[in-house]
C-alpha cells in the first residue's frame, strides 16, 4: 500500500509537468488547429534559461522561474509571428511541416550553442526528504506540485474570468465572429502562444530541478508525451490537458514499477493508440464537427 502511494506521489509529480506542457499544445491547437511541434523545444529552452539565470545571474528559484517564463513567452510569440502566421491560410500540412522544421531549428541551435553534453542543474534547493507514514516526499516534489497547481489556477482564472480569456475562447470557437466583436484575432493568437510557452518554460525549470539534468535534446520525449496527454484529455480542452498529463505521469511510473523501465516511453504510445481507437475525442473532449 505504501509502495502504491509512493508511486502515486512520484507519478503525480511527473504528471503535473506533462500537464503544464500539454496545456500549451492544447491551447494552440484549440485556437489555430496546429500541433506546435516546436513546443517541446520551447520547454527545453525554458530549462536552459532557468539554468543560466540561476548559475550565471545568481537568481533564486522563483525569479529564475519567472525569467524563463518571460523569455519563452517572447520566443513563442516570435515563432508564431515568423513561422506560423504567414501560413495561416495555407494547408494544415504546410503548417505542420513548418512546425517540425522550427523544432529542428531550435534543437540544433541549442546543440551548437550549448553542446550535446548534459549539464547538472544548479542546486537551488538543498534536497530535503520528509517521511509521512512510510511514504517519502521531498521538497522538490512539493515545489513541482505547488508551482504546477498555482500556474493551473492562474490559467484557469485567465481563461474563464478575464476579457482576454473570453476572447481566446471566442476565437477558438469562431474566429470570424470574434472579429465582428472587435477582437484582434492576431493579438489573441500571440497571447495564446505566450501563455502556452510560459507554462512550458516553467515545466522546463521544474524538470531541471527534479531530475537535475538538462540537455538540448531533452524536449523531444516529454514533448511527445505531453502531446499524447493533450490528445488523451481531449485536444483543445484545457482541463483535459491537465487530466491527461496526470494520467500519463501515473501510468508511466506504474509501468516502470511493475515492469522494466525500458517500457517507460512505450506506454505513452500505447495510450495514444488506445485512445485513438476507443475515444478519439479524448477523455473530456466532445465529439464536435470539424470546422470548415
Amino acid at each position: 500500500m505504501q509502495e502504491v502511494i509512493q508511486q502515486l506521489v512520484n507519478g503525480i509529480s511527473l504528471g503535473s509537468i506533462y500537464g503544464l506542457i500539454a496545456l500549451g499544445y492544447t491551447m494552440v491547437y484549440g485556437i489555430i488547429r496546429l500541433i506546435n511541434f516546436a513546443h517541446g523545444d520551447i520547454y527545453m529552452i525554458g530549462a536552459f534559461v532557468g539554468y543560466f539565470a540561476i548559475r550565471n545571474f545568481n537568481l533564486s528559484f522563483l525569479p529564475a522561474l519567472l525569467v524563463a517564463m518571460a523569455v519563452c513567452a517572447a520566443l513563442g510569440t516570435a515563432i508564431e509571428r515568423l513561422a506560423y502566421r504567414p501560413l495561416r491560410n495555407s494547408t494544415r500540412i504546410a503548417a505542420l511541416i513548418t512546425a517540425i522544421g522550427v523544432s529542428f531549428l531550435i534543437q540544433n541551435a541549442a546543440l551548437l550553442a550549448w553542446t550535446p553534453d548534459p549539464r547538472s542543474y544548479p542546486d537551488v534547493f538543498p534536497l530535503r526528504t520528509y517521511e509521512i507514514g512510510g511514504v517519502f516526499v521531498d521538497n522538490r516534489q512539493i515545489t513541482i506540485l505547488s508551482v504546477a497547481v498555482a500556474l493551473m489556477v492562474v490559467l484557469h482564472y485567465i481563461v474563464n474570468f478575464t476579457q482576454i480569456g473570453r476572447a481566446m475562447r471566442a476565437v477558438a470557437i469562431d474566429a470570424d465572429t470574434a472579429r465582428l466583436m472587435g477582437i484582434d484575432v492576431d493579438r489573441v493568437i500571440s497571447f495564446t502562444f505566450a501563455l502556452g510557452s510560459a507554462l512550458a518554460a516553467a515545466a522546463g525549470v521544474l524538470v531541471g530541478i527534479y531530475y537535475n539534468r538538462i540537455e538540448p535534446t531533452m524536449g523531444a520525449m516529454p514533448g511527445l508525451k505531453a502531446f499524447v496527454a493533450a490528445v488523451l484529455g481531449g485536444i483543445g480542452v484545457i482541463p483535459g490537458a491537465m487530466l491527461g498529463g496526470l494520467v500519463m505521469g501515473v501510468a508511466e511510473v506504474a509501468v516502470v514499477a511493475l515492469t522494466a523501465s525500458t517500457w517507460k516511453d512505450a506506454v505513452a504510445f500505447a495510450i495514444l493508440i488506445v485512445i485513438l481507437l476507443v475515444k478519439p475525442a479524448g477523455l473530456l473532449g466532445r465529439q464536435v464537427r470539424e470546422k470548415v
Binding site: R166, I173, L180, G182, I183
Partner: protein
C-alpha cells in the same frame, strides 16, 4: 453614413458581386432583399471586412474602410450580426453579451446597454447563466442581436434575422428592429423574407445574382410588378 460603390467580389473563380452600389443614410432602415445565393451575405461580409473586394469602395462616415481590418471596423461602431446567429455556443448568455462589448471601456455605458438589451429581450435576462447553445433558435437570434447591440453601434448590419423562425417570432424580431431604429440606430437589413423586410424598411435594394436590379423607397419597390411577382409571390 455608408456608401458602397461598384463593389466586385470574387470567391476564386466565382464572381459573387458584380459592381454593387448603394447607400445607407443616417437613421434609415435600408433593406437588401434577394433570393438565396444572390450575394446578400457577401455584401455584408465585405462591408464588415471579413471578405475583401477586388475593387470598389466602401465609405463609412466619410472614411474609406475598404482595407480596414474587421476588428477595427467593429470598434468604429459598425456592427455586423452574422447569418445563422453564430452565438458562442459553449459560453453563457451573459458571456456572449460581454463579448459584444469587448472593445469598450466605459463601464457605465456597458451597464446601461446591458439593461437595455435585457429590457428588449426579457427572455435573455431569464437565461443569462444558460449556455447559448441550449437556447432555442429564436432566443439565439435575440442573443445575436443583443450581442451586437452591446457594442453600441451606430450602424447595425443584420443578416437574415428571420431565418428559420416561426411567424410569430419573426414579427417579434421585426418589431424589435423597428424599436432599435427608433432609438437612433441606422439599420441595414438583409432578408429573404421580402414581405416583412419591405414593411419595416425606408429604402430597399433588390439583389439578383450579384447585381442590384431595383432600388427605391421600400413602398415603391413593394409596389413594383416585377418585384411582386418574383419576391412577394403575388
Amino acid at each position: 453614413m455608408l456608401t458602397v460603390e461598384n463593389l466586385n467580389v470574387y470567391y476564386g473563380g466565382i464572381h459573387a458581386l458584380k459592381g454593387v452600389s448603394f447607400q445607407v443614410r443616417q437613421r434609415e432602415i435600408v433593406t437588401l432583399i434577394g433570393a438565396n445565393g444572390a450575394g446578400k451575405t457577401t455584401t455584408l461580409k465585405t462591408i464588415s471586412g471579413l471578405v475583401r473586394a477586388r475593387n470598389g469602395k466602401i465609405s463609412y462616415q466619410d472614411r474609406d474602410i475598404s482595407s480596414t481590418p474587421a476588428h477595427i471596423i467593429a470598434r468604429d461602431g459598425l456592427c455586423h450580426v452574422p447569418e445563422g446567429r453564430r452565438v458562442f455556443a459553449n459560453m453563457t448568455v451573459a458571456e456572449n453579451l460581454a463579448l459584444g462589448a469587448y472593445h469598450r471601456r466605459d463601464q457605465q455605458g456597458i451597464k446601461r446597454d446591458l439593461e437595455w438589451v435585457y429590457e428588449l429581450f426579457p427572455r435573455l435576462a431569464e437565461r443569462r447563466q444558460q449556455l447559448a447553445g441550449t437556447l432555442s433558435g429564436g432566443e439565439q437570434q435575440m442573443l445575436a442581436i443583443g450581442r451586437g447591440l452591446m457594442s453600441h453601434p451606430r450602424l447595425l448590419l443584420l443578416d437574415e434575422p428571420s431565418m428559420g423562425l416561426a411567424p410569430l417570432l419573426v414579427r417579434e424580431i421585426f418589431e424589435i428592429v423597428k424599436q432599435i431604429n427608433a432609438s437612433g440606430m441606422t439599420v441595414l437589413l438583409v432578408e429573404q423574407n421580402a414581405h416583412m423586410a419591405l414593411s419595416v424598411a425606408d429604402t430597399a435594394y433588390v439583389l439578383e445574382t450579384g447585381r442590384i436590379v431595383f432600388s427605391g423607397p421600400a413602398r415603391e419597390v413593394a409596389a413594383n410588378k416585377q418585384v411582386r411577382e418574383a419576391y412577394l409571390g403575388a
